[in-house]
């Protein structure tokens, strides 16, 4: 699964994109976030306040928890600030 980070989330994590193999027990978005937070302090930090993190799965905005079944791309980013 491809994970994308934008703006300050990208700066903190230090990369814009990574491809990961999900553990079997990670099947929903919240489980993914919880699992990502175990991967180091930068991940811990970007997901501290989920009010300032937006999510898109396969390029569609998501609010709330949802299954990751069939998803190939999950993106995390701050609220957009437009043009």
């Amino acid at each position: 699964m491809k994970i994308l980070y934008f703006a300050w989330l990208r700066s903190k994590v230090g990369q814009s994109e990574e491809t990961i193999s999900l553990p079997d027990d990670v099947t929903t978005l919240y489980q993914l976030i919880t699992w990502l937070k175990t991967r180091g302090p930068a991940y811990e930090e970007i997901f501290t306040d989920l009010n300032v993190v937006r999510v898109a799965i396969d390029q569609e905005h998501i609010t709330g928890d949802t299954t990751l079944e069939g998803a190939s791309e999950v993106a995390f980013f701050p609220p957009v600030t437009g043009g």
């Binding site: 994308l4 934008f6 703006a7 701050p78 437009g82 043009g83």
Partner: protein
């Protein structure tokens, strides 16, 4: 039409392209957004816009389609730049062409309110001393968008 590009665009050339050899357009409204010298930071020197390639185009195409449903438009163009932009450079262009001025005005204002709040772009401002800062979401922009909700 939606174009997401790094290059500078020319508003006049785009108007000419839209109106060329058409006699059914009565009103053309354009909105051009420019980099100006103060925003969140005291003295902005340049702006870098990060976007989400693929998703950005999809989202802009969806909102263009909405505008064409809501208003009677002969044509509609959105150009949005990404990457680094210097002071006074254009960032975003919306052109709406209609038989009637109200459709053109309303659609352009709607598209801009949406672009300012919903389009997958993130602004990084740099000041004269080279300090950079990610721009915060503005509640006034969110308020602006509310007036279009049914």
């Amino acid at each position: 039409m939606v174009i997401v590009q790094a290059e500078i665009f020319d508003t006049g050339a785009e108007i000419a392209r839209i109106t060329a050899s058409r006699t059914d357009i009565g009103a053309v409204v354009t909105f051009t957004g420019l980099v100006r010298d103060f925003n969140d930071s005291a003295d902005v020197q340049s702006l870098t816009l990060e976007h989400y390639p693929g998703m950005t185009e999809r989202e802009l195409e969806k909102i263009e389609a909405s505008a064409r449903v809501k208003w009677d438009l002969q044509d509609c163009l959105i150009i949005h730049r990404f990457g680094k932009m210097e002071l006074a450079e254009p960032i975003v262009l919306v052109i709406t062409a209609s038989k009637h001025r109200h459709d053109a005005f309303e659609a352009a204002a709607f598209l801009m309110d949406w672009l300012k709040t919903k389009a997958p772009f993130w602004k990084l401002e740099a000041d004269t001393e080279g300090n950079t800062d990610w721009v915060k979401e503005r509640s006034s922009d969110q308020e602006a968008l509310k007036r279009w909700q049914d």
